[in-house]
């Protein structure tokens, strides 16, 4: 309405200065260190040699890394394949308002508020065939289930755990999207004699599109960084079945403590994420403007 665009005001920089300082302290400095490491060979704190891109080359060639990357991709994609539809369905079935809505909201969001390692612990307990309900039930059903012994089982358990943990995020995003649809749309649809499916297909889905896309990218990236849950549950095993990038990296960095490659790898990892993040950001700019144009 107001034809006044944001006024240009360079003084605004002073307002964001605090943020810059904080984040710089906890982001830029460390990043520099990483870069610094990635191009040196640290034999001992005193003796370091400049090695240029050597580590990068090495890391790129590292078979284990390729394997980990592959595992990561498969996992992230599966996560999306399950959580997106499930989330939408959940969003659609959540009550719109009243105390019911509050209660459901709280229950649904609960899993997001559980420390990630506790999530691991919960499933660790839940899945054990001797003391866990899930494990025991499966045993009782005659499935020789063991997330510690069987790679497939381990992988599946991690997946289910992630679904349990993160589907609410997608659901809440979709839910928010749904709530933003004006009633007139539903009324119009009723008057046009639209079927429930038509309402979903032509009103709800299009209106949710923006937030859902964001949900997709968020889930993809977060699952790309998954560390704690599998670490607690399976410790990356059996074998490397559930060793994803983050854990692979920490093993390198902390475990074997060969800093150079670790740093180099960190940077590569970081760049991958950065790329994804870039896509996400532009997406939201696009969606944002669309919403403004299509705004009522």
């Amino acid at each position: 309405m107001s034809m006044t665009t944001k006024p240009v005001n360079q003084k605004a920089w002073f307002l964001i200065l605090p943020v810059l300082i904080c984040v710089a302290f906890s982001a830029i400095v460390p990043l520099m260190t990483v870069v610094n490491y990635s191009v040196q060979d640290i034999i001992s704190p005193e003796r370091r040699v400049f090695v240029g891109t050597e580590w990068f080359v090495a890391v790129m060639r590292d078979e284990e890394l390729h394997a980990a990357l592959l595992r990561q991709l498969t996992f992230s994609l599966s996560v999306l394949a399950v959580e997106l539809p499930l989330g939408i369905l959940l969003a659609l079935s959540m009550p719109a308002d009243g105390w019911k809505a509050s209660v459901v909201l709280v229950i649904v969001s609960l899993s997001l508020l559980i420390p990630w390692n506790v999530v691991g612990t919960i499933w660790q307990i839940f899945g054990r065939s001797d003391i866990g309900l899930l494990g025991a039930t499966l045993q009782w059903l005659g499935i020789d289930y063991s997330y510690t012994g069987n790679a497939a089982h381990a992988w599946l358990t991690v997946l289910v755990m992630d679904v349990w943990h993160w589907t609410p995020l997608v659901a809440l995003l979709g839910y928010a999207g749904l709530r933003s649809i004006p009633d007139a749309y539903y009324q119009a649809a009723r008057i046009d004699g639209a079927s429930k499916f038509a309402v979903f297909r032509y009103i709800q889905l299009p209106k949710m599109r923006g937030v859902l896309m964001i949900g997709v990218l968020l889930r993809f990236m977060d699952s790309f960084m998954i560390y704690t849950e599998p670490f607690v549950l399976t410790g990356g095993g059996p074998g490397n079945a559930t060793t994803f990038l983050s854990q692979f990296l920490t093993q390198k960095a902390v475990g074997q403590f060969d800093l150079g490659p670790a740093a180099a790898f960190s940077l590569i990892y970081f760049l991958i994420i950065l790329l994804l993040c870039f896509i996400l950001y532009n997406w939201m700019q696009r969606v944002g403007t669309q919403e403004k144009e299509g705004g009522q």
Partner: protein, 270 residues
Amino acid sequence: MSKPKFQKRTIFLFAYIVFALVPIYWMVNMSFKTNQEIVASFSLFPQHFTWDNYHTILTDPSWYSGYINSLIYVSMNMVITLTVSLPAAYAFSRYSFLGDKHVFFWLLTNRMTPPAVFLLPFFQLYTTVGLMDTHLAVALAHLLFSVPLAVWILEGFMSGIPREIDETAYIDGYTFPRFFLTIFLPLIKAGVGVAAFFCFMFSWVELLLARTLTSVNAKPIVATMTRTVSASGMDWATLAAAGVLTIVPGAIVIWFVRNYIAKGFAMGRV
């Protein structure tokens, strides 16, 4: 609005809620059992109901200090985040200035950085500045994730407030700080609540950094737990109790922001 499908939907919803709660219930259930019972018998309800596990945790310093530590650095993180984010968010929502888009994007990237990447450098950095094993260290490290988020959410809420209100205030003769505190802040209460909620959420649940940057004095509960695990002779019961106790604060916080949480998720796009 959807009468016929209503049934199907509730059934699904119910099913999901079961799926969501059963694992938690199982842990709760376990936390009231004794280790012997856990290992020996398999039951849906504690046969010999006991508070012992909670008692151990709440009396044994090595346990409860963990909670205190976590709560300390989480609150520190929340306070710092909000104080720095509010002005920044205002700047982003009200003015355009050189490189605003880029700065915003750069902030975002931090939210997306895998903690693992910063593990080492943090370790080094905080050792050199002597913050190792302090609450402040963790709080600062977590700024990396909470600040971008907070700025983002607050910016969303602030943009919902017509700029004319600011102008009217300036015309009326308000100074910026006075306007910001007495007029503007009350208008974005909800936003602040949601932002605080997400700070809490990310700081409370994060393990990797919290564990790496602490050893004894600031050791967070999450770390305490993992170490208990790795220490052999699984003390399932206590572990379960500890887990339950970590869920409680979260549950409480949610209850307070429940009405804004959906909105917050959409705005901050988390």
